[in-house]
């Protein structure tokens, strides 16, 4: 699954362009399945936060879908939207807790991250590693390690007296 660390995101938007290029055949952040959303502070600077489907343990989008258009890929664990079944009723977009599933206005169906068959482009092209791909069962360990690293860095800083 895809892990996101906004602390490392530079806001370059490469993830959005490569994602849309792969999934809808054009460079268009508006149709990308991952979005690097901007938060501007007092006009003088901004942060970007990548938002992408977290493949929930209890996928509300799947639960709420009245016509069972969302199914799970047994290989990658990704929840996939069947474009032929989806009618674009938007129930999933209302239910998703992080807003990571949306109606594509050109395809007129819901679209969400499909993990690119286990090799997600957004993670592949993210140089600062704000977006990384990990196996589902390794997720907590990766996050723990990241948090521990921050703590260890801070301790080193304190020890060096600066």
């Amino acid at each position: 699954m895809i892990l996101v660390d906004p602390d490392k995101c530079t806001g370059c938007g490469t993830c959005e362009v490569v994602c849309s290029l792969k999934h809808v055949g054009e460079c268009n952040p508006a149709r990308s399945l991952i979005r690097a959303l901007r938060y501007e502070k007092m006009g003088s600077y901004y942060f970007s936060v990548p938002v992408v489907c977290q493949q929930c343990e209890t996928p509300l989008c799947k639960e709420v879908c009245p016509i069972n258009a969302i199914t799970q890929d047994p290989e990658t664990g990704a929840y996939l939207v069947d474009a032929n079944t989806c009618v674009g009723c938007r129930l999933c977009t209302i239910t998703c807790p992080i807003g990571a599933i949306n109606i594509d206005l050109q395809a007129k169906t819901a679209m969400k991250c499909d993990l690119c068959n286990g090799d997600p482009l957004c993670a592949k092209f993210c140089l600062p590693k704000a977006i990384t791909y990990v196996k589902r069962d390794k997720r907590s360990l990766v996050q723990m390690r990241e948090a521990a690293k921050k703590l260890s860095d801070r301790l080193t800083l304190i020890a060096s007296g600066t």
């Binding site: 602390d7 490392k8 530079t10 806001g11 370059c12 938007g13 490469t14 362009v17 490569v18 849309s20 290029l21 792969k22 809808v24 055949g25 054009e26 460079c27 268009n28 952040p29 508006a30 149709r31 959303l37 901007r38 938060y39 501007e40 502070k41 007092m42 006009g43 003088s44 600077y45 901004y46 942060f47 970007s48 482009l121 592949k124 092209f125 993210c126 140089l127 600062p128 600066t162």
Partner: protein, 674 residues
Amino acid sequence: MVYGWAGTILRIDLGMGKVSKTPSSEYTRLFIGGRGVNAKLMFEESKPGVSSLDPENPIIIGAGTLAGTGILCMTKHVITTRSPEQVPEGFTMQCSGGSLAAEMKYAGYDHIVIKGRAEKPTYIHIENDDIAFKDASGLWGKGVFDTNTILREELADPEVRILAIGQAGENLVRLATIEHEYRSGTGLGAVFGAKNLKAVIIRGTKGIKVHDPEAVLKINEELLETHKKNEREVIRLARERGEPEPSRYDKGYGTIGAIAKDYYFDYTEMGVVGYLEGFEWTDLDKTRGADWLKTRSYHDTGCCPFACAGLISVPGVGIGVMRCYPFWNLWQLKMTDVDKMFEATKLMSDYGIDNRNLCWTVSYLMKLHEMGLITVKDTDGIPMEWGSGDALIQTIHKLAKRKGFGAILADGPLQLAKKLGPKAEALFLQSRGQMSAGDELRTQVGYALAAAVDTRRSTENPLGGAYQIWERYLKKIGLEKEIKEAYARAKKTFGDEKAIVPWKWEGKPIMVITAQYGIVVDDTMGACFIGLGKFTDQRSPIKQLGTLPSPVGPVILDSFNAVTGLNVDKNYLISAAERTWNVEKAYNVREGSTRDDDTIGEGWHKWPITSGPHKGRVVDKAELEKAKSKLYELRGWDVDTGWPTKETYERLGLKDVAKNLEKLKKIPKKKKAS
């Protein structure tokens, strides 16, 4: 099917409140996009003699052809107009990064031409096909930061991309800038101000098609691989030399770290301290960018993963972006308080002021103060003491608001120099009213030549690292063998090994021409040479020293073909660059420019470097003139007037330009064969 381009040129008349759209394909075949098409549009859309602040002076925003296609570091937009900063006025353009170029194309436009003057303060809101003129009265008088915040709230869209001016642009300050995401460039802000135009806002959701998506992704993959390889090499070298583990700045992230002391002083010997004094300055270490960043860096942002617009946090000042120039500015003002320079930079970003030209001017005032040529009376009680950040900050406030001596400075530094008397004016270093870009010209005559013949009279880093050998530094790090190899290559390429010595004139004209076409190719594609340099093998220029690198940098040709599917060769891109350069020149020729205007500030010829290993060096004027003649010849220009000949225009497919100039008698007379 058009691949790569958005397909449309948008023309906006602010006075009439009208818009029109034409296909960009009429221009792209010859000029490609970005800086190229902008140049041709500028020549066509402007009438001779129309001043920069006249409503009829067009201001043209162009997107780089590869911007928005997902290839790393293709992030630049170009703004072209007649410069309010130059005296006499002439062609100018700025090329800045950010996310505006991509958004323009997603909205459907390759170029936007704005003319006329709105009756009251206005901003233009472009969202795909919808173009709206909105009242900006409530924004007038506000800084760039406030303007951004208010506009995003008013439009309820945090994702809009904004080009805006601050108070300086509104007040028609000649040094005012147009700001986009903490990036700006040369002084163009007054052109917006004169049009009553506070901001241009763009939002696009249409997308761009590329010819070969697989190839585009492959190019990106290779860029990342090369970068990782380079990074491993930096780490390996550091370990081999027993140096501490390289920081991310040592690895090249962010321009601030990269331009810190090592590069500009130890390596290239090209920094300037004070008002052109040389570069031995005992306080230099206190300004080392990488050290300062260790405690001040807050978060990395930028238009590519290298994040050169890194966020800085300084207690008492707040958070903001430190651009790269401020480190040169510190040296120019002999300032060691980096925090204070950050405060000044933030202020200049908010007012929208060109920090490069302003800091040169303040440095000049400090020199005059030291020599006793001015007193505090001339500067409204502000003591212009070397190193004083407060002097800079107070000058910024006065300039933006046109208060006191700031009102004179607002009409251009040259006006202020004139007011201060003949002795002071004689010390003012300028060419066409602009000071140099911040590079030391007396140790780098190639830079001097490039600055003299540049179509916009000022450009940073015109030769890059690939042409000049800095032997003192290379010896220090033990690269004796590489030095010998470089000289051997230079002998082979230029017929003279002196060609790569920065202060020798041999070989410089052809280097300058090649490098200038390279810059135009980058500006046309929207490529950031700093970012791309880090993703490619250009990081080791030592291997290229002594050769004449192609103006088409690595990756650009492949990217262009993958995106457009046109399968051109590199000569196509170089021809477009030559054409662009000639049209930019044609604009200046039409406006009265001759060979005599191709100069650098007189001081570079008259004032020797006062200290350091290059003590005593000046730029030899006779040699510069000789090099100019050679360069004109190589370009196919008339040596007496410095004008392109009819044959040159025709060879480049610019018959219309030649015809236009012929009517104005601005085509050199044919010489009899001798």
